[in-house]
Symmetry: D4
Subunit: 166 residues, 8 copies
């Protein structure tokens, strides 16, 4: 087991190409993470074990991605007091992502999942950084820089248009 | 623990008025059942314990009702080789039942849930009887009688209209 | 007529590539089946004949796949006391599968159809095996093995990730 | 059996308050009709008998209303070459009428159902009159008068507003 | 102007590849037709002229296809007492066909449109034939033959499967 | 005929309680208007006459409200070069407003309708004022005051909360 | 800063291929415009600055395109009394355009956005011309010519079909 | 200005009865908060001021509730590096909550909003506590107790059923 600040989990390796965007952005913020394949339906005992011990292993946030009847984020949230971020994945079986979104978002009272946009694993990583940044000035500084950078990029992109004569 | 043939579970007592329709129809077929409040999100360890031992306790079918991000039927199916019937409930939090339906129906490959119509606990009970009836001639006989009775009722209802002069 | 335990029916040969997944998984469980093209709209008399005699021919479960205004599973259920599993197919005419799902799932009181996920014929096969497995220890044993195998695969897939250094 | 020009059928008496709007408007056009409770799921043999003989009994059009997984109009169309008008009913089980609409409208190639708006039994009656009116000058004359009357009503309603000083 | 029994209209030539399916099936039933490009939004005066005189030109049925905010069928129905069949087209601008379906189907009281499935111009043609067939024994005979042929095709298709050893 | 700057039209008097919100807000901006019942389906000739002459009568903007298969705004736009604002009405027949929205919004290329939110006749009135305000300094001044007033109200409402001790 | 009559803004350069259709049609009407990349989420201060000064810079209409949680049109409308036209873009992240449409259309009372169809930037340009045309006879004349031209094209397209023998 | 750890904002006082559930649960966790009415559309300058200074005023998390075209959470997230939790409100104007959900959830890359279920302000409060609890052992302890309490309640509720003889 790693000493990761963020755990990134998904039910199957087919979601990895979406979910590794979370890992990439966390790396740019200098936040440690681990990626695991953990299934709520195929290995539920491992999920309870991994989730139930996440906090005592030093983890701060869990990011869980799933598609279709996407139970992984919600069941993870049942086993921990850590904030769980859910990424609805538009997987092969999914009906345009509606099933993924609704089965992650519409959690019952008492057990929230912080849901981000469809396939938005990068935003899940940023949100995890924001959560860590509430108590880590270094991460907060990087988030502020990231915001400045986004602003500059959008201005540059606009200037490019003006230069082209629009 | 009872010796019930069918287990009827739901995540909260607020679903009882819907779910007891399953119990009522099972009673008319002479099938034993138990009703339990078991939550995938609030007491997940009890769910795994109850579901994991259902078969060895003699149970044949599980009926699970849930609304919103309705994980109970799917997570139950993770713990047992028994057929699990899911009843999507149009609960207070639910968005017209769409979340309930999609998060029960759209299960990943390998872990099916036999989903019935929105709030259709009575049909869940009939389906459970049909499953038991595949190997129980007495139950099958009662199902055949039930079909005859439905037919007669619809014919009587039609005759009533004709008698009224339509 | 065969002595199949499971009947797999569909309205047109264009659904065969989806529906034969049910046959494949049934074969691995050692369950006999027959596949038939039977249309609720183009040959309704054959449907009533085939469905109405299924039980006395020794059948235990019927799996019916259909797309668009998908009436085959529901009309089949009208003619038999056997459990009918409905597979909503995302066929060419279908509106992203919504019509297929709703016209199979939302059956009236008294005539349930056990609906599985969109295009999930494999899960329909597993559900049929679970139904047979309620009274067949050999099948139940294979289902338990299947669950263990799924668990091992997901763990292996997770280990692969860890080995790659994630 | 009556000598009705139009047959109005529905699966249950609970749809009668909606469906009798079709009867009322047909009466104003001087078109004969019969109303029957006929269920595709509870008495399928009667449906095939009634539908299959409708043409030879002199019927010209069939109007079928149903809600939820609404199979009645489509299965009726399987048994006759008469035009079948489908009325999607927003019944108690229905999900805001979406299931009723899609399971009536989305018929496969070869077996059309002429679908009207949700709960629009009156429009179904008018459409039946239009079909009869293609070969019946008296009915056509009444339809033309009906159009004039609608026009006058909307003009009067507009004048009323003007008179009120809007 | 032709002496067509059926008028097939659409708002733009881009819908022709869908709509000519109606023409093809009408031809097999020996029913005459004309195809016209008539736009409710770009040449509304022509629409009122063409629709308003359709009956006196001997037309029996109008088939109108449109996509997006599909007003053509409904506005046509405003100008004639003939039955109007609407074909919702899944055109480039359309949102998966939902806009096309709802803006054709949900007509106000008094002005029905006989709506068929998404892109189902062939079914629109069959429905037009059924309407004409209510008073034309030759067409009715061809419709009955068409039904027999469909039945035989589906049986042959099923036999093919059996022959392959399924 | 009045000398109104804005024409407010609807297909039936039942939409008046929604649509008069447009009139009320226009009155506060000192903009003249007329309200008319004009139906695209019941009196299409009057619609073309009224719409076709609106500009020469001095009108600047047309607001058209409709529900269900809501063709009034789009067909109005076919007859005039004036901007047409469409108000989707959640009328009795409408499916939660979806049909109203899509049949107004999704207009084909060349014939736009400026669509506002469901039942948002007040916003339609404000938008009409904004259009007139592009060339009328007095109206623009009133719109600017209206914005200041909205801002003050929301601040006052917030202060009220603070005063209550939240 | 230009002296454009119309400002066309979008949140990212990836929407340019859609949005430049607005520019193209404005050019044919002889209306000046500027295109800018301005983001409600990445450079909100620039948006308030640009929108807040648009009127005093002589602008008459703003066209704002956005996809997903599309806040640009609505937030722009918060800063100006000019009419704001919103173009919902079916961008990569968007769920078939539903999110884009609803987050632009459903503005609260007091702050309207004139919404056009999905990806309908050309219609946004025409609507902007119609707004300018309410007080500019030259633009109005061009809009009337544009309508005539559309009419002629649809008639020519219809004639082409007739010539081909349909 | 208070020294609150959590800021709860909404666009209008009409959302207060939903949003104060967040305040109530925060109070039970001993977390300080302030509630403010701040509108993205009616007082956008105040929103940028309040959001932009939230972190330096010691705030850790912002909860923003909104309905319809719900821009408040997303625009807030544009002005701060703090985590923003969005509560989609099923307000009067909203279309069953779909607009509220999609316009909060589907944020573009770079600016996440942690979305919870429809009207789930209580869950927003719990999520805020979980975020604070990542670095505050006292809060974490209370969250763990809250989980135990939920578990006990569900068990008691189940026992009650058993005692009643189900």
């Amino acid at each position: 087991m790693s000493n990761a600040q963020v755990g990134i989990i998904m039910g199957s390796q087919s979601d990895l190409n979406i979910m590794e965007e979370a890992a990439k952005i966390l790396k740019t913020f200098g936040i440690t993470f681990e990626i695991r394949i953990i299934s709520a339906h195929r290995a539920p005992d491992l999920l309870s074990e991994w989730s139930g011990s996440a906090r005592e292993r030093g983890m701060k946030v869990i990011i869980a991605g799933a598609g279709g009847a996407a139970h992984l984020p919600g069941v993870t949230a049942a086993f921990t007091t850590l904030p769980v971020i859910g990424v609805p994945v538009r997987s092969r079986i999914s009906i345009d992502g509606w099933d993924s979104i609704l089965s992650i978002l519409q959690m019952p009272s008492g057990v929230p999942v912080a849901t981000v946009a469809l396939d938005a694993a990068k935003n899940a990583g940023i949100l995890a950084a924001q959560i860590i940044g509430t108590h880590d000035e270094d991460v907060e500084k990087k988030l502020a820089d990231f915001k400045v950078e986004m602003r500059e990029k959008v201005i540059a992109s606009g200037q490019e248009l003006i230069d082209k004569g629009y």
